[in-house]
Symmetry: C2
Subunit: 147 residues, 2 copies
Amino acid sequence: MDKIEVVQIGVVNRDSPEEDEFDRSLVSRIVLKNEFADGLKGIEEFSHVFIIYWLDRIPDSKKRLVVPAGSQKLAQQVGVFATRMPIRPNPIGLSMVELVKHERNTIWVRGLDALDGTPVLDIKPYPECVKGKFIIADKFKVPNWLR
Amino acid sequence: MDKIEVVQIGVVNRDSPEEDEFDRSLVSRIVLKNEFADGLKGIEEFSHVFIIYWLDRIPDSKKRLVVPAGSQKLAQQVGVFATRMPIRPNPIGLSMVELVKHERNTIWVRGLDALDGTPVLDIKPYPECVKGKFIIADKFKVPNWLR
C-alpha cells in the first residue's frame, strides 16, 4: 500500500485572512462538517488538543534537506523530518493548541498556525494517557540550531 | 477538496509481531524508504519526536460516539475526537516517542504503540519551537474519566 486516502473532516476559519498565522496568541475556529459534530462531545473537558491538518497550499517538492528558519547564518542543512518546515513528503501539519470553547460542530483554539481555509484531518486530546500515566516529556533535548 | 492522498514514507518494524504494543517501554524501528533517508539528517539531536502513522488494520466505522477504555463503569459516551480510540474518520495515529538511535534510513524509538508493519506518514521533532519559545503544555486539564 503506497497511496492512502484521507478525508477532510472540517476546515480552519480565521477572522481575517490577513492575520499573522505565526502569532500563536490568536484564536481560530475549527468548523467540522455536521456529520462529524458528535465526535466533539466532551472535548471541552480538555484544556489542550492536537490538531492534524493538511497544508494544502504547499507546492510539491522532492527536497529532503532544508536550512531551517533561524539557522541561516550557520547554513546548516538538516533533513525535513528534523524540522517543522511545511515542505515534506506529506504536507501534514500538527499543532498542539489551547482549547478555548466548544459549540456543536465548532471548536475555538489558540495557537494554531494554519491559514484560513486549511483542511482539517483529525483532532486528538492532549496528552495521551496510557494505563493512568500521561505521555509527556518534561525533559527533552533539541539541537543548538533550534535554540 | 474532500479526498486527500498521502504517501507511505516508511514502515514500523517490531522485533516480534507478538509484542505487546501497549508496552511503551519497548523499542521499535521506523524504516523509511531509501528515497526519504536524507530527510532524517540531524534528527538524532532531538531526544523526542512525533510519529504520525496510518492505522491500516482498523475497520471503517461511522461511529462518532465511543465509550473510552477505562471508563466502562461510567458507561460514559464521548466523541471520538475527545479520545485516542483508533476508530475515527481518518485512522491516523500520533505518538510522542523517545528517539533512541538513528542510522541511515532507520530510527529506533521507544514508546510507539503501532503494530508491526504499520505505514508511517510523517516524523516531526518535539517540541515545536516558535520564535525561540517551545510549545509545551506543562499545565493541562483532562476529564475525570481519563484519570
